[in-house]
Each structure stands twice: as structure tokens, then as C-alpha cells.
Amino acid sequence: MDNKRNNIARRKTLTANKPENVRQTDIIILVEKAIEGNVEAFGELYGIFLDRIYRYVFYQVRDRMTAEDITEEVFIKAWNAISSCKGKEKTFSAWLYRIAHNRVIDIFRSREKEQLIEMDPVAEAGSTELEVETEIDHRELLDSIAELPPNQKQVIILKYIEGLDNREIERIMGKKQGAIRILQMRALARLRERLNGGAEEK
């Protein structure tokens, strides 16, 4: 397992998982129409951002059905508050991510309040589809990411999984780039420590 990890690490390039290339101008037009009450336009926005928001939520909640539910709620909230985007159509993406982030935080808070019973470790690791899709290395890595403090986790998911740049992350998180760099550094250091600790145990 350690060899596998090293082999992956030695790859020459870091893949920038850039979101699909939909023209920003098209998105702005759709947002403007949605603000005017055009449901079809909002549906188009849904199609454009569904994957990103779903993925963003999924990697935090680690359960497919919960991620689907939260994703739908995010878009419903977005529709209900779409008028607040007026004049800020260019930052629609960041706004949507913020809604998603807040919703995920709400879920985590309510779960803490409800004192959820300890779950079956297998189930807790995520959906079976995740198991099918990822190697053992990735599962351990995802577990580690899931255990990061919220802000660090958010930076890691937005940058390395969603493929957003620092400027976009800055808009979503409402933090300056300096703070984001620090969060990134701490997150990577913590992950490294955890993964190394796991490797040693093996």
C-alpha cells in the first residue's frame, strides 16, 4: 500500500481538475433570466452546476443519498434567494458554493445535536459506490480529509477536487488569499501526518 502511494505521488504533474468550460457570459445571461423568474433558465444553471455542487457536498458528507438531498436543497434555496444575485451575476458560482457549504455545516451541527448513534464503520466510510470507485489509498485519504477542521477541509475540496483557483476560493470562503494559503499548508501537513501514521501502522 505504501508503494502504491509513492507511485501515485511520483507522477509528474498535478492534475488541475478544472470545471467544465461553460462560457461565463452564458452563465451570467442565465442568472439574469433566473432573477427575472425564468425557471427554465434556472434549470440550465442547475445542469451546469449540479455536478460540482454534488461533488462538493458528497466529499463532505460521504453518503450519496444525503449528498443528493442536500444538493437539491441547495438549489431550492438558491432559487428562493435568486433575487439577491442581482448585480452580482458574475459571482453566482461562489454564491452557490456558499449556500452548499452553509447547508453542510447545518447538517453537521444538527447531527451533533441529535447525538447520532455510532454507526457501523463500514457504512460510515461512505457509500459502496465510493468503495467501488476508489482504491484503498483513496479511501484512507478521503477519511483523513473528512476529519480535517471545516475550513481546511473546504480548501482541500475546493482546490484539489473541485479544481477552483485561489481567487474563486477566496470569494466562496470570504477569506483573504493569505489565509487560504495558510489553511492549505496546514491541511496538507495534517493529511501527510495522518497518512504517514497509517503507513507506519501497516
Binding site: 445542469g47 455536478d51 454534488y54 443528493e68 438531498d69 438549489f75 457509500s127 477536487i161 493529511l191
Partner: protein, 586 residues
């Protein structure tokens, strides 16, 4: 120092993203190599995580569902505003009329009194205008649906019981009681439903919904058994609550049963989601597949796993179709093409699998006729499968690949014989085009005083008392795990319904999937008025279509035709030739 290094790290990562190697980055910062290298390796590792994506089918279906929901909520909001506005106008008109009458009838009207009346009228108008501009959407009622038999209702403030009528609106404080052998459903404004089994008595204690305030539904269950399907409540402060003589169950989005005996003993079992059960100051949490019992005056027992159900019907529908199942009591579970989801059959579930296939699970079906409705989202053929399993063995297994008949869907009649929770036999007796009358009895857009889009019903089968599988709480045995709390209990014994797109073969394990069985020529071809050929290639293995990897399908056919059921689907009530589905199946 940290800031400087974080900048170096960030710049290095940007360079990696542009295509440079780790080594070239390290050469740039030799003094920081030792610290930098492991972090860059970690960054690369993270970026190698495969991206989870939704399928195109899911994207399409969920988009349709979202738009339908947005439109529905928009209509509901407008109706609510209009309704309250009209109400106020009525009151205003009445007030004006009374005032005018008093003025006309009075011999002497003091000017101050007249002025006071006019002032009151002005204030009323102001109040009305304010009300129209900021009307919260309050929906303090629910809709009664009588699936079968008789239901008595006792209105708030009255001791007398009267016969309830299908579709009537019930207010807070109403008591509802189902007669022996009778089934009913209460539907709340946001879609939550509570199904009442026979001889069940509940009281509506609280219903509150407002865009700004938490949603609250509180019921008191005095006796009997209910099956609650609670729509997920977005607001953390909202809740659905059932109080019994011995306990209180609180949820925010789930499927669960509550059973109250004459002694006051309460049993709660969760199918999906999480239920909190409180009694005597003690609280237990029931995630999916867990149950608890609360005796009168006692604390809840520790959660125990719900026994796996002894038998199950599993129905799957591929796109572009959606489906529903109606049981002999008239209760239905499934999805409409609009995306509206309903669940009235206790311990049943309907969900989308990883392959975007809709799956409906019915635990321990009862004897009687089940009606499966197949509806189409768009043109094209849809594969479906109907599997019945008992004690891990397949009892029957039907499959088909049908297109819509003249833009209509299909109704498939499935006869089940069950004993002691086990399926003895099952056979498809007939199929017909889905017409104006639909088997489901659901309220799609329940609003205060409203009864929008109620689907017409066929005659419901009331002859279910003797055979009703009361579903002792202990046999929940849940499903694969469609509950977002990571439910487990997978019936690993499911196995695969291969897919005999056959014809008359039924419950004959050895016949399953025999190539030569494909599309019985006489059936297959065609009443294919829709050009549906029903090819053999409609396999559809739904090996594991539950999005959490539920792979257990009943142990295949190979052998035990558990019941030796060999009879062909006689097609009782066979549809006319031209209406015959393109395929008959086994």
C-alpha cells in the same frame, strides 16, 4: 515564517498544475526541500482521487423534479396568498354590511359612533393591505384520504363522531379513527404523510408551516399502527412528532412505524432516517432498521435490530419510465413522472439506484392483488422487473421491456398469495393500458383548505383484513440501505433476477433466463402497437441497483420453485388483443 513557506508551497502547487514536476519545484527552493517535498506529494495524491459525478440520467431526472417542485411551490404560495386575501375581503364585506344595517336600522345614530365604525373599517382595510403584502404561508390543516373501509372523525370541540369523507380537510384538534379493515392516509402541506392501519386512532395536535418559521407536525396516537413518511425538513428547528400514551417519537425526515397497544405499550421501528423516542425523561435514537419498545410508565428499551423481513417484492423500472405499486388495501408507494414521491405502504421504499433505475421494495406482502403502474417520462421502451422472494428464494420473477401504448402507461396486475409473512405464490394476471383512472389515491399538493391534484381512484380492495400482514414491528428487516444515515441491513440474499424476458415461465426456477424462452413468439411480437419489439436483449440485470451497492438479490432461481407454481399467467381479465402489451413475460 509560516506565511513565507505557505506562499512557496502555493506557488509550487500552481507550477505543478501548469505541468511542471515536483523535482523542478524543489530545485527552485532547495532550502525548503525537506519540508516542501512531502506536502507536494500529498497534494498530488489528493488530486488523483477519482471524481464522483452524477450520471446524465440522474441529472435529467433530478432537474425535472427540481423544476416541478419549484413550480408546485410557486403555485402553492400564490394560492395561499389568494385564499387568505379572499377570506379577509369576505370578512370585510360582512363587517361593512353589518355596519350599514345598523346605521339604517338605528333611529338615532350618534356621529361619534358612526365615525368609530368608519374608523374601524379604515383600519380593517389597512390591515388587509398589510396582510396581502406580507402573508406568511400558514397551512394548519391536512387532507384525509380513505383508501378502504370507513373512517370516523371527531371535530375539535365536539364529542360526537361522524363519518369521514374522502378528501375532507381536517383541522388541528381533530381525532381520526379507522374502522376494522379500514385504511386511511393524512397528507400534510409539505408532503409528509401518515398512513393509518385498521383500528387506529390518532389526534392532530399541531400543524405549523411558515416560510419563516420551523415546520411542526405533532400527532397523538392513542391506538393502532401508523406508517409515517416524513419529508425532510430543511430547518433544524422543524420536526414531526408522534406522541403515544407511553412515548414520543420525533423525526425530521424519515420513514417509520409506530404501534400502540391497548395497554399503552408503544413500539417504534425506523425504516429510513433517524427517530428519537423519548419516555420518562429517557431518550433513545433509532437509525434505520432499529426498533424500540416502550411500556407504559417505563423508559424506552435499548434499540434492537429489526428482524429481516421474510419475504419481499422488488420492482425495478428503467428510464424513461417511473412506477408505483398499490397494495390490496389501496395504499401506494412510488414516484410520478413529475417527480412527486409518495409512500403509503408500511415498510416499503422507493428510491433511485446507482444506475438511475427506480426500485420499489415491498416487505412481507399480503395476499391479494397488487397493481403496478408504469408511466413514461418520454418516448422509448422501458425495462422493468418484478421479483418476489421468500426466505431467500425466488418465488416469481417477471421482466418486460415495454414502450408506452399510445402515450399511455401500463397497469400490471400481480396476484400474491402469502402466509405468515412468506410469499407462497405470485403471478401476473393481466396488464392493461393506464387510462384515466389510476390506482393510487394520493394528494399531490395538499394545502390548507386545498385538495389540489387528487388522483382519481379505482375501487379499492377492502377484503384485506384477514390477510393483512400487520407487519409486526419486528419484521422490518430493512432494505438495502437507502437511508442517509448509512443504513445497513442488506438482505444479502437477493441474487439476481436475470432476466428472462420470457413469457409464461413463472416461478419455475429452472426456466429462468433460458435463451429459448425469450419472447414467446406469440406474445412477443406483437401487440406491439408501439413498435415495441421486445427483444431478447432486454436483460436488465439489476444486479445491484441500489445506490449503496446493495447487491443481494434473492438467490437465484436455480432451483426451488418454492411453490411449484407452474401455472401460466392466465390473464384474468385479459385486455383486448390490441391493448396487449408488447411483451408477455415470465
Amino acid at each position: 515564517m509560516n506565511d513565507k513557506f505557505s506562499r512557496i508551497l502555493d506557488e509550487s502547487i500552481e507550477r505543478l498544475i501548469k505541468g511542471e514536476t515536483i523535482e523542478s519545484c524543489l530545485e527552485e527552493y532547495p532550502n525548503d526541500r525537506e519540508q516542501l517535498e512531502p506536502l507536494l506529494n500529498t497534494a498530488q495524491l489528493i488530486s488523483s482521487i477519482p471524481k464522483v459525478s452524477v450520471s446524465e440520467k440522474y441529472s435529467r431526472v433530478s432537474k425535472a423534479r427540481l423544476i416541478a417542485r419549484i413550480r408546485r411551490e410557486s403555485v402553492q404560495a400564490r394560492e395561499a396568498e389568494t385564499r387568505s386575501g379572499i377570506g379577509l375581503f369576505d370578512e370585510l364585506g360582512l363587517a361593512w354590511h353589518r355596519m350599514w344595517q345598523s346605521i339604517l336600522g338605528a333611529k338615532k345614530v350618534a356621529i361619534p359612533v358612526a365615525l368609530a365604525l368608519i374608523l374601524a373599517l379604515v383600519l380593517s382595510v389597512s390591515g388587509l393591505l398589510n396582510h396581502l403584502s406580507t402573508t406568511p404561508a400558514l397551512a394548519s390543516q391536512c387532507t384525509l384520504t380513505i383508501l378502504s373501509g370507513n373512517v370516523d372523525v371527531q371535530m375539535p370541540g365536539s364529542n360526537a363522531e361522524k363519518t369521514g369523507t374522502d378528501g375532507m380537510t381536517l383541522n388541528i384538534g381533530t381525532r381520526v379513527k379507522t374502522a376494522p379493515g379500514s385504511h386511511a392516509v393524512l397528507t400534510f402541506f409539505e408532503g409528509s404523510t401518515v398512513k393509518l392501519e385498521p383500528e387506529t386512532e390518532i389526534e392532530i395536535q399541531q400543524i405549523e408551516y411558515d416560510n419563516e418559521q420551523p415546520t411542526a407536525i405533532v400527532l397523538k396516537q392513542w391506538l393502532g399502527r401508523t406508517w409515517s413518511r416524513v419529508v425532510k425538513m430543511a430547518d433544524p428547528g422543524s420536526h414531526y412528532q408522534i406522541e403515544t400514551p407511553s412515548a414520543t417519537a420525533i423525526v425530521r425526515g424519515t420513514l417509520f412505524t409506530t404501534e400502540v397497544e391497548a395497554t399503552g405499550t408503544t413500539k417504534v421501528a425506523t425504516t429510513e432516517g433517524l427517530v428519537s423516542v423519548v419516555a420518562q425523561g429517557d431518550e433513545v435514537y433509532l437509525p434505520a432498521c432499529q426498533q424500540t419498545q416502550v411500556d407504559a410508565g417505563e423508559v424506552p428499551s435499548q434499540p434492537q435490530p429489526v428482524p429481516i423481513s421474510r419475504s419481499e417484492i422488488i420492482i425495478t423500472f428503467d428510464m424513461p419510465a417511473t412506477g408505483s405499486v398499490t397494495d390490496p388495501t389501496g395504499s401506494s408507494t412510488g414516484i410520478l413522472p413529475s417527480g412527486f414521491y409518495f409512500n403509503q405502504i408500511p415498510e416499503s421504499q422507493s428510491f433511485l439506484t446507482a444506475e438511475d433505475r427506480q426500485q420499489i421494495n415491498i416487505s412481507e406482502p399480503m395476499t391479494g392483488e397488487y397493481i403496478i403502474a408504469l408511466r413514461y417520462l418520454s418516448e422509448g421502451q422501458a425495462h422493468f422487473n418484478i421479483l418476489g422472494a421468500s426466505d431467500g428464494n425466488v418465488v416469481f420473477n417477471y421482466t418486460g421491456n415495454w414502450g408506452a401504448f399510445q402515450e399511455h402507461g401500463w397497469l400490471i396486475h400481480l396476484g400474491i398469495h402469502a402466509e405468515s409473512g412468506r410469499i407462497i405464490s405470485g403471478e401476473v394476471t393481466s396488464a392493461e393500458p393506464l387510462g384515466e383512472e389510476t390506482p393510487e389515491d394520493i394528494v399531490e399538493a395538499p394545502l390548507a383548505g386545498g385538495k389540489a391534484s387528487k388522483i382519481m381512484t379505482q375501487d379499492s380492495d377492502t377484503n384485506s383484513t384477514a390477510d393483512v400482514d400487520k407487519g409486526k414491528p419486528e419484521d422490518k428487516g430493512k432494505p438495502e440501505d437507502e437511508d442517509n444515515t448509512g443504513d445497513k441491513g442488506k438482505p444479502e440474499d437477493k441474487g439476481k433476477p436475470e432476466d428472462e424476458d420470457n413469457t409464461e415461465n413463472k416461478g419455475k426456477p429452472e426456466d429462468k433466463g433460458k435463451p429459448e424462452d425469450k419472447g414467446k413468439p406469440d406474445k412477443a411480437k406483437d401487440e406491439n402497437n408501439t413498435g415495441n419489439k421486445g427483444k431478447p436483449e432486454d436483460k436488465g440485470k439489476p444486479e445491484d441497483e441500489d445506490n449503496t451497492g446493495n447487491k443481494g438479490k434473492p438467490n437465484k432461481p436455480e432451483d426451488e420453485d418454492a411453490t411449484g407454481n407452474k401455472s401460466k399467467p392466465e390473464n384474468k381479465g385479459k385486455p383486448k388483443d390490441k391493448d396487449k402489451p408488447p411483451y408477455w413475460f415470465s
